[in-house]
């Protein structure tokens, strides 16, 4: 039991670390592509680790629900990331003007 | 109880921040956003007020919740109308 709990906390900490790294990347990276890259890492891996860690501490029903949420977030993240990348690809001047001010 | 005052204070500060944005602008879109921030602050105040019975172990005040729900819909309607007018104003200026 305690081993399960320890693994769970480890996974949670790891997940949080991904989120932290993603947030720092979002703030520090120079252009939108690398920012997107940083954020999507946090979304998929970080959230996945959190869900895994939390489901070790909860019933199978809650675990299933969380897994569903993870899947939906991942799918929407993939689509919205592609859309954003496409948008910034189409309008390079937009991101350039934003960096100036 | 500390949380109650924390949320109450945050709500009022949000109203203040919104008021600041409304005054300063300078774009009309930001003024519309500012009105929404003020609205959010007021609704947060109401939700926090509705939370008071919870601290005594009773259910939250559902009348206030209903009022906020009404207010939310009214706010989004007004925002949509204002943005439509703004959009027309901007496209016409070209």
């Amino acid at each position: 039991m305690t081993i399960m709990l320890m693994i769970s906390w480890l996974l949670l900490a790891l997940g949080l670390m991904f989120f932290l790294a993603g947030s720092i990347g979002l703030l520090r990276f120079p252009d939108s592509f690398s920012r997107l890259h940083a954020v999507t890492k946090a979304d998929t891996l970080g959230l996945g680790l959190l869900v895994l860690g939390l489901s070790l501490q909860s019933s199978w029903r809650e675990g299933l629900l969380m897994a569903l949420i993870w899947l939906i977030v991942m799918a929407s993240g993939a689509v919205s990331c592609q859309l954003l990348a496409r948008f910034s690809d189409e309008q390079p001047s937009e991101s350039a003007t934003q960096q100036e001010d | 109880m500390l949380s109650f005052y924390l949320y109450l204070g945050t709500a009022v500060l949000l109203v203040g921040i919104g008021g600041l944005g409304l005054w300063r602008g300078p774009e009309l879109l930001r003024r519309i956003l500012a009105l929404n921030v003020i609205g959010a602050g007021i609704f947060m105040l109401m939700v926090t007020l509705a939370y008071r019975p919870v601290m005594q172990g009773e259910p939250a005040d559902s009348v206030l919740h209903a009022l906020v729900l009404t207010g939310l819909v009214v706010a989004v309607s007004a925002t949509a109308f204002a943005l439509a007018l703004l959009g027309r104003l901007l496209t016409r200026a070209d």
């Binding site: 001010d101 | 500390l2 949000l14 930001r30």
Partner: protein
């Protein structure tokens, strides 16, 4: 203690996001920050035991308002940059007013003297539904809700007076297949929210807003033909909520004695009346919000 820490972080985040949205230089940033603010707000309301509102705020406040703001943002692209005005004068004045407000807050009684929550609980069995918020919205204070639907309708009527044309987004294979996947899900969830509203958090507004977001996604990906006010069925859908409300009021007046008052549902059929009114209201809200977000085609586009 942990909860207080959570509250502190959440409140600080809310203030930070709102302040940054108001002061940021670029409007795009301001709108993005405002959407993030909306999501955090939904979290705060869930924390404050208001799940109905958290649902509504997530769908309406963050989602649809954000979509509307982005629509306006596209039109700002060609505008010249505005000079940033000075800050100190508004800051001192607003700071003073906020301080006064904060000072007056200390007199809010911690134990509310209101008898309303008890009264709601007492009359809940007669209202036809078991969820108090739904009971207040569609029975105790139904007149407010009717007028609120009217406000929503007016937003649409007003927006139709000022049609602006947008650059058309033509859809893209990935987002199209995603919209095909997502919208049945949204439809399902909004139906569930509507049905559940009688007994648990949820109801017409949340369901309507969710349905609207599904319709908007479909419309933007060209999966749905234009909704145009010129079609009778669209007008019928938009007005359906109000018509059902008024008709239900009229019928219930006729069903009861002549001494009856407006919008009082007979207890035996109250649940059914509320469900019917809510269903029509959901459709009306969904179509109205969709029309507000995606706009209407110019006549020649609609004919093509």
């Amino acid at each position: 203690m942990a909860l207080l820490l959570f509250d502190l972080v959440l409140c600080a985040l809310l203030l930070l996001l709102a302040g940054a949205a108001m002061l940021s230089r670029s409007l795009t940033q301001a709108v993005t920050l405002f959407i993030a603010f909306g999501v955090m707000m939904a979290l705060a309301w869930a924390r404050l035991k208001a799940p109905d509102l958290a649902l509504a705020e997530a769908a309406i406040g963050a989602g649809l308002t954000g979509a509307l703001c982005f629509t306006a943002l596209v039109r700002y692209a060609k505008q010249p940059a505005y000079p940033q005005p000075a800050l100190w004068r508004p800051l001192t004045f607003i700071g003073l007013v906020t301080a006064l407000l904060l000072a007056s807050l200390s007199q809010i009684p911690l134990q509310p003297s209101s008898a309303i929550p008890a009264l709601v609980q007492q009359h809940l069995p007669q209202s036809g539904v078991s969820h108090p918020v739904t009971a207040v919205l569609l029975n105790f204070r139904a007149w407010d809700t009717l007028l609120e639907l009217l406000v929503l309708l007016l937003a649409l009527l007003g927006a139709r007076q000022a049609p602006g044309d947008l650059p058309r987004y033509r859809g893209w294979s990935l987002s199209i297949s995603w919209s095909r996947l997502l919208s049945p899900l949204l439809l399902l969830v909004s139906g569930y929210l509507l049905w559940r509203g009688a007994a648990a958090p949820g109801g017409a507004f949340q369901a309507g807003a969710l349905l609207a977001s599904g319709l908007v996604i479909l419309r933007l990906n060209q999966q749905l033909s234009w909704l145009s006010w010129r079609h009778f069925w669209v007008r019928m859908l938009v007005l359906g909520g109000l018509l059902a409300f008024v008709l239900a009021g009229a019928v219930s007046l006729l069903l009861q004695d002549l001494g009856a008052v407006w919008l009082s549902w007979p207890q035996s059929i109250a649940g059914a009346v509320i469900l019917i009114v809510e269903s029509f209201a959901t459709l009306a809200i969904a179509v109205t919000l969709t029309l507000l977000v995606v706009g209407e085609p110019k006549p020649e586009v609609a004919d093509a």
